[in-house]
């Protein structure tokens, strides 16, 4: 069996969807963050698949892109956790369902 681009892309899409589900369903803010990380990983997988399979003058672009995504994800995670801690300090919870002072 020959592995095609579509195989990898499909795995990426499924991973992305799982990440999205995690991000949208978890009650814990940190859980949501984990979902986001999964989505970013899915994107990375997709990018690298393209980098590997696509006809391109600059195949390196995909890899470069992934480097930046990873970096940014790290920064985002740091800030997210800081904010989660900040919320926890104020509210003694990181439960998304209860972080809803701001509404309507």
């Amino acid at each position: 069996m020959t592995l095609e681009l579509e195989h990898f892309l499909t795995v990426g899409a499924l991973l992305f969807s799982l990440g999205l589900f995690v991000a949208l369903s978890k009650r814990n803010a940190i859980g949501v963050l984990m979902g986001v990380e999964l989505m970013l990983n899915a994107v990375n997988l997709t990018l690298l698949s393209f980098s590997r399979f696509s006809v391109s003058e600059r195949p390196v672009a995909g890899q470069t892109f992934v480097v930046f995504v990873i970096t940014v994800a790290a920064a985002e995670a740091a800030v997210a956790l800081a904010l989660a801690v900040s919320v926890y300090r104020n509210r003694q919870t990181v439960d998304i369902d209860r972080i809803n002072l701001l509404k309507s």
Partner: protein
Amino acid sequence: MEGFGVNFAFWTLSAVTLGAAGGVVVSRNLLHAVLFLILAFIGVAGFFVLLSAEFIAMAQVIIYVGAISVLVLFAVLLTPRAGRDNGETAMALPALLLAIAVATVFIFVVNDTNWTTVAKSPELATAELGTALLSTWVLPFELASVLLTAALVGAIMLVRSREEEAEDALA
């Protein structure tokens, strides 16, 4: 890309990665979820190797598994037991349907498209990646460093305790 080894690797990695991601979904305990997450990260790193991006795979392991996961673990450990609940919100069902819809759309589009692919992997030396980062994409490269600095500065500010702030104000 063919051959048994590659096929085997692909399917195994797929199973591991998606399974681990599923573990994140079903784990009721946040700590278990973090562990599943790390497994998923490692699986993805395996994919990267399969896609001949060894350097990236390494970076993935170091940054995600090393840094981010540890960060998450710290955050989990910093919050008391009550904060380790990883249950679903009331929005779980809509989120599930939506995730299925998104997957459907993505997979449909991915398979609907006529990709023009090369059979053979382009030989990408890690040096090429370095060159690219320091020539064409030097600007984002620098910006990323600024970004990390800013995030760091900000994160520190956000988590500083009231006492520290009081001292700060006196200074």
